[in-house]
């Protein structure tokens, strides 16, 4: 699972980009879950160090929704206005009913997207997806080198990814690549973009790691230097000029190095709705870290109640919940105070300004994290990979390794 839609989402970017356009209005209503993300399983054959899935995901691997429950969720969300569907995980292909979900999505009029590592994608399955009406496949790529790919995912998947990329192209799908950027591959941006071009990519998302879940645990191991990010952005802009419209490149800026936070999820409960493997309904990927909120579950009340009426989805809608310095901030509508999960995980106060903001009283926590990531001794600590074994340790409380300074299990 990659970080495609964390915070600075592409939907949002496109929507905002249209606002000044001649002849096109982008006044997307703010009360519809236009984007439905179905995290159909947390099981995954990869063990990526930067995965944003919850570190205690293991407790949600035994109680996954059934095919019928997913189909009902798709129908209910569509009635609420959902139109972009992401089928994600974990690795969604570990379920054998993705074909059924795809067929139903097509019937309902979704524009559907399978977000995959490629592991488990066979000729037979991709054929079935094509016939069933899946609109596109987003493939995660990690590096141009076999060493880094295999290291960061803790698997031997480099050759497979190249094979899968060719398979996607051969079946007439747009080539959408997602590359999570971190210390180990940021020096290869030019080569990664060249590889994407050679593979015939139509869209490339360079998603700088944001620190949630496993990537928060491994923050000091993954964070690049500010100078490296600036250089990567410069190379990306140069490449954009060269390829023009034939390959759209999105560079998701990392919030730790900005002065202002991201408008997380384009606002709480504004356009995104996530249904997780066990049926929890969330306004963002990591919302379950927040205290004193009971999230709805599709097994109990329907999605309409979850979206419109549940206390959880209404809790941080708008700006009534804000404290100072956000409340009186002239820029509050730009970012809505940033990310509630990040605020709580780092500061212990979910209603405080996102510490990323230079106006936040907790901004030193970000500066400290950046300093720690440059400390050779801390850097040298081994990566804790996303494995069932490590997840079980966090879920049971047996281990608090590198999470005890956070205010929730990331």
């Amino acid at each position: 699972m990659t970080q495609a839609s964390l915070g600075d989402s592409l939907v949002q970017k496109e929507v905002h980009a249209q606002q000044q356009n001649n002849g096109v209005a982008a006044n997307i209503t703010h009360t519809q879950p236009l984007w439905l993300l179905a995290e159909v399983t947390y099981r995954c054959p990869l063990h990526c160090a930067f995965c944003y899935n919850p570190t205690d995901y293991d407790k949600h691997t035994q109680n996954e929704l059934t095919t019928e429950q997913w189909i009902q969720a798709l129908r209910d969300a569509r009635k609420l206005g959902a139109i972009q569907l992401g089928i994600s995980g974990g690795e969604p292909l570990l379920r054998d009913d993705i074909e059924d979900i795809v067929i139903e999505a097509k019937k309902l009029g979704y524009y559907s997207n399978l977000i995959t590592s490629g592991v488990g994608l066979t000729e037979k399955r991709i054929q079935a997806f094509k016939e069933g009406g899946l609109d596109h496949i987003q493939l995660s790529m990690h590096d141009i080198t076999e060493e880094i790919n295999n290291f960061i995912t803790n698997t031997k998947t480099f050759e497979l990814k190249k094979k899968v990329a060719a398979m996607i192209k051969n079946h007439g799908y747009p080539m959408v690549l997602n590359v999570v950027i971190h210390r180990y591959n940021i020096g290869h941006i030019k080569e990664i973009l060249e590889m994407a071009e050679a593979l015939g990519a139509d869209y490339v998302e360079l998603a700088n790691t944001q620190y949630y879940g496993w990537s928060l645990v491994n923050r000091s191991q993954l964070m690049p230097l500010k100078e490296q990010i600036d250089e990567a952005e410069r190379i990306t802009n140069e490449f954009r000029q060269k390829v023009g419209n034939k390959m759209k490149i999105f560079f998701v800026v990392p919030d730790y190095f900005g002065n202002r936070p991201k408008k997380c999820m384009n606002g709480w409960g504004e356009v995104f709705m996530i249904v997780t493997a066990n049926g929890d309904v969330l306004p963002c990927h990591s919302a379950r870290v927040l205290p004193n909120i009971e999230f709805p579950n599709v097994r109990e009340k329907g999605l309409e109640w979850a979206w419109k009426d549940s206390p959880a989805f209404n809790k941080y809608r708008g700006d009534d919940w804000m404290k100072e310095p956000c409340r009186s901030c002239s820029e509050k509508e730009n970012d809505l105070g940033g990310c509630r999960c990040q605020a709580f995980l780092l500061s212990g106060d979910a209603e405080s300004a996102d510490p990323v903001c230079s106006k936040s009283p907790n901004h030193h926590l970000i500066e400290q994290a950046i300093e720690e990531s440059k400390n050779p001794q801390i850097q040298a600590q081994p990566i804790i990979f996303r494995t069932d074994k490590n997840s079980k340790k966090y879920a049971s409380g047996e281990s608090t390794e590198r999470i005890d300074s956070f205010h929730a299990i990331p």
Binding site: V11, K13, V15, A25, Q32, L34, I83, Q84, Y111, K248
Partner: protein, 94 residues
């Protein structure tokens, strides 16, 4: 006009893009990987006519006939083509 739209040009929706009516939005939309654009009425009427056979001039003629009371719509229509080509929502087929 940045894209030099000619009356004889024929356009169709770009590959991997889908155009459909969205009841929940009460408008036409264009869908593509990771994104969606909501079109207002006039823009929707232009895109709706692009079947890969009608030229830009045909679309203008048809829209003028369909909306006889609309004033000076030719420039708006050409502006919409220019924007849609610039955004790569359309591909030229001739």
């Amino acid at each position: 006009m940045e894209n030099n739209i000619q009356p004889t040009d024929i356009y169709a929706l770009a590959l991997h893009h889908r155009f459909q009516w969205e009841e929940a939005q009460s408008s036409y939309v264009i869908l593509f990987p990771e994104g969606m654009v909501k079109l207002h009425g006039g823009a929707g009427e232009v895109i709706k006519r692009l079947d890969g056979k009608l030229s830009v001039a045909d679309v203008v003629t048809d829209l003028k006939a369909t909306f006889p009371d609309a004033q000076n719509i030719e420039n708006d229509i050409l502006g919409m083509f220019d924007l849609a080509v610039g955004k790569a929502w359309l591909r030229k087929v001739n």
